[in-house]
């Protein structure tokens, strides 16, 4: 297990290098600069600003400087928030986005797996059909349609929950964003669980268990659930990383100060360092999630451990 982790971390180095290089190239090739303003800057002022951010150096030198500072864990100063560093901004955004993503994923997993099991249990029944129709519909309605609808219903019409904004330490403003983010995932997970569950239920060892006269509930929870969770798991890892980009829209609609919003604002404002910082962060999250999935695989199915 330790060797797996070590190997994965070593493999991550070229990936991160590639990631930094691509994003640096992309950001620098972009037209428009961080200091473009409607009123063109006086040349003297522009020179002073360029010097402050080392933009007056040749590109290769800037690239090396950036690479060096990333290795030291410093993502550089933000261009848009002139007095803050990218590390400051990301440190501020992570708790918001992490809470949003984790809550959404937990909700999606809990309810999705539950619904999936129920549908598999009552296979071919009305419940099954209903759930699955709801699930396919849920997948087909994107979160950016759900979010405004939720705001309209729960905040504007019924005044149950706030329509947006952020207050550290309170749950209320997070409820709707979490729901909007979780529902499509939930639908997908329900479908996945149902499919996997049905497959497992048909397998010989379950038939044996059934023949032995074990109760249905015991079979489901003790024997069928574990193998059925594997496809769900392999989905959930990347999905959690994917929520990072999904939260871009949700954070925008609900005005939450998370990573996704920093990313969009950074891109629009040519905040070179902020954009690169968030992209690197997203890459790191994906790598970590993949590692986590592998570890969970090992826990769920010991046979996989040998293959590593």
């Amino acid at each position: 297990m330790l060797s797996l982790i070590l190997r994965r971390l070593l493999q991550a180095i070229p990936t991160l290098f590639l990631l930094i290089t691509i994003s640096f190239a992309m950001v620098r090739a972009a037209p428009g600069g961080p200091f473009s303003t409607e009123r063109a800057l006086p040349p003297e002022v522009e020179r002073a600003l360029q010097a402050r951010y080392h933009l007056d150096e040749p590109l290769p030198q800037q690239y090396l400087r950036y690479l060096g500072s990333v290795v030291r864990g410093d993502l550089g100063p933000s261009f848009r928030y002139e007095e803050y560093s990218v590390n400051d901004l990301i440190a501020q955004g992570i708790p918001v986005t992490a809470r949003l993503g984790l809550f959404a994923m937990a909700l999606a997993l809990l309810v999705g797996i539950g619904l999936g099991i129920a549908a598999a249990w009552w296979h071919h029944s009305t419940v099954d059909r209903l759930f699955m129709l709801a699930a396919v519909t849920g997948i087909s309605v994107p979160s950016f349609v759900l979010a405004p609808l939720f705001i309209l219903l729960f905040a504007v019409l019924w005044h149950w929950l706030p329509a947006g904004g952020y207050a550290p330490g309170t749950i209320a403003p997070m409820v709707l964003p979490v729901l909007a983010l979780a529902l499509p995932q939930m639908a997908y997970i329900a479908r996945l669980t149902r499919g996997a569950m049905l497959e497992v239920l048909r397998s010989p060892f379950i038939r044996t268990a059934r023949a032995k006269g074990l109760g249905m509930r015991l079979i489901l929870l003790r024997h069928a659930l574990r193998p059925a969770l594997i496809p769900v798991l392999s989905y959930a890892g990347p999905a959690l990383a994917g929520l990072l980009s999904g939260s871009v829209v949700v954070e925008q609609i609900f005005g939450l100060p998370g990573i996704g919003r920093f990313f969009i604002q950074g891109a629009l404002n040519r905040d070179y360092t902020l954009v690169m910082g968030v992209t690197i962060l997203a890459g790191v999250v994906i790598i970590l999630m993949n590692l986590l999935v592998d570890l969970a695989y090992m826990a769920l199915d010991p046979r996989l451990g040998a293959r590593g």
């Binding site: 729960f154 706030p162 005005g255």
Partner: protein, 537 residues
């Protein structure tokens, strides 16, 4: 299970509503501020916050009229080139230090110093040597400002500028606390460090969320400050902002989506505030390349083919005024218009078609032109509408190009690819000069390539004129030259649109759209107030 969830939602909802009320003013403020450094700030969201945090020599009342701020009085020399300010001895920084004339000398020098990286140093241009310092040709300490003693400040101008008090109410002329700036450098604006001299001081700033201000007990007029705290919410998504206002989470919105004005009028009429705003929305024409170089008839044809009434009343319907001139209406100044403004729609279209044919185009040989605008829903709709009008009236083929802001600015400033481009200008102070000067050949905002010596001279003459009445007449002449040459097609004059909680007292519509929080308070049930501002000089 489901019932439980609903119940939980209900409880959380109730709890959160109780939190929101109280003595905090909650203002939607559009984009998140870039910085809270008065010397370097440039956008409207920043200036809204800075007007609460800081106070200049001159400040504004609820109606946006200029009133004494840190300076309790001032006088100008007969030639209009020297201003002397008497500072209020009671003015204090939030840490208790007195606000002195030396602080202003320090701050204004800092603003024009290129090393500060200020984008607004140019606004202080009338002050002696300001232009030279911004250009790096003179040292900051040569700026024409001196402190005679702690409470007497003298400002020297290189040309008459009767609008100087207006400039001094702008954030670029706000004071900063010298010793904090020296000690922390750029970091002096962070919460916990920022020392300010306005009615409020900085409590907290959560980026992309909100800026929280609290009452500054050291402020000289603190007794009249209404709210204990002000929360400026970043509300970039204007549609979400409207929903948040309806959910009772905001007292003032930054704007109202123009597509929803009709609906808002019907449902939230009491809260809707629409007022003229000191700004012009126009399409610039690139005069450095075909088809618009040397073709005044074509430019006029395009200008006439646009039905501005449809734009303002059917698309925007938010109180915008059709613009047939370049300078928005303001007290004492009778702006020029192009002569065809008085015609009706049919006559105008007829004239447009004649001019179009005269400049060598026809249905068989239509003009093909690119219209560049920056990504934003109102700009998009307007561009589509104007393109349709040009096509329907003249048969022009328009290609719409939509670019994101920073790319858009670069394209526009390069003047190479653009033909027609969207632009707008909000006046920094209440004077026609702030509008007319942007089309002079030397101005940084002039992306049309328009360089007319006649126009430059006419404006220069007005700028050197000490007499206010004569000066306005000269400015008017300059505007007439501009509308004759037509390097830009004005579309409409802006309006400010806000939703304001009807329980909020002390809010006044005004043309500057400046609303200092210190004038506002929760309205006592009996309180009756005059709803409209009377424009003073």
């Amino acid at each position: 299970m489901k019932r439980l969830i609903i119940l939980a939602c209900l409880l959380i909802g109730l709890a959160s509503q109780a939190l929101g009320a109280g003595q905090t003013l909650r203002r939607g403020n559009g984009a998140d501020p870039q910085t809270l450094d008065p010397g370097r700030a440039q956008g409207v969201p920043e200036s809204n916050i800075l007007r609460d945090l800081f106070e200049g020599l001159v400040t504004e009342d609820a109606c946006g009229n200029l009133i004494p701020g840190v300076a309790q009085s001032w006088s100008a020399s007969p030639d209009g080139l020297t201003y002397t300010f008497q500072l209020r001895p009671t003015a204090r920084w939030s840490n208790g230090d007195p606000v002195t004339a030396h602080d202003f000398v320090f701050s204004l020098r800092r603003t024009v110093d290129p090393a500060t990286g200020s984008l607004y140093g140019a606004i202080l241009e009338p002050i002696t040597n300001a232009r030279e310092i911004v250009a790096g040709k003179a040292k900051p300490d040569t700026l024409g400002i001196e402190a005679l003693d702690a409470h007497t400040l003298v400002i020297h101008l290189h040309r008459p500028a009767p609008f100087l008090p207006g400039i001094l109410a702008h954030q670029a002329a706000f004071p900063v606390h010298p010793s904090t700036v020296v000690r922390y450098g750029l970091d002096f604006v962070k919460p916990g460090r920022l020392v300010s001299n306005g009615a409020y001081r900085l409590k907290d700033w959560v980026m992309q969320s909100h800026v929280l201000l609290e009452r500054n007990a050291a402020y000289w007029d603190d007794a009249h400050t209404g709210f204990d705290a002000v929360r400026f919410e970043a509300t970039e998504d204007i549609y979400s902002e409207l929903k948040r206002f309806r959910a009772g989470e905001l007292d003032i919105t930054d704007t109202v989506p123009s597509m929803q004005i009709g609906w808002v009028k019907a449902h939230l009429g009491r809260a809707l505030h629409i007022a003229p705003y000191l700004g012009v929305y126009y399409y610039g024409l690139n005069l450095t390349r075909e088809p618009f170089d040397d073709n005044q008839a074509l430019r006029l044809a395009l200008a006439l083919a646009i039905d501005r009434d449809i734009l303002t009343s059917k698309i925007l319907h938010g109180g915008e005024q059709p613009a047939y001139g370049f300078v928005p209406p303001m007290p004492g100044y009778h702006g020029a218009t192009f002569p065809e403004a008085r015609m009706n729609r049919e006559e105008r279209w007829q004239k447009a078609r004649e001019l179009y044919a005269q400049s060598g185009y026809s249905l068989q040989r239509p003009l093909e032109v690119e219209l560049l605008y920056n990504t934003q829903s109102d700009h998009k709709i307007l561009a589509v509408a104007v393109a349709q009008m040009w096509q329907q009236v003249l048969g022009v083929r328009v290609r719409l190009i939509n670019q994101e802001w920073k790319v858009f600015l670069q394209t526009r400033q390069e003047k190479r690819d653009t033909q027609v481009f969207r632009a707008g200008w909000i006046g920094d102070y209440r004077d026609p000069e702030t509008f007319l000067s942007i089309l002079t050949s030397w101005h940084e905002m002039n992306d049309t390539g328009y360089a007319s010596p006649t126009y430059d001279n006419a404006l220069e003459k007005a700028m050197m004129e000490p007499d206010a009445t004569k000066r306005f007449a000269l400015l008017e002449q300059a505007e007439r030259i501009l509308l004759q040459d037509l390097p830009v097609i004005p579309l409409f004059f802006y309006s400010s649109k806000h939703l304001v909680n009807p329980d909020l007292g002390g809010y006044r519509d005004n043309i500057m759209d400046h609303h200092l929080s210190r004038w506002m308070a929760r309205r006592k049930p009996t309180g009756q107030e005059a709803p409209i501002c009377s424009p003073s000089s």
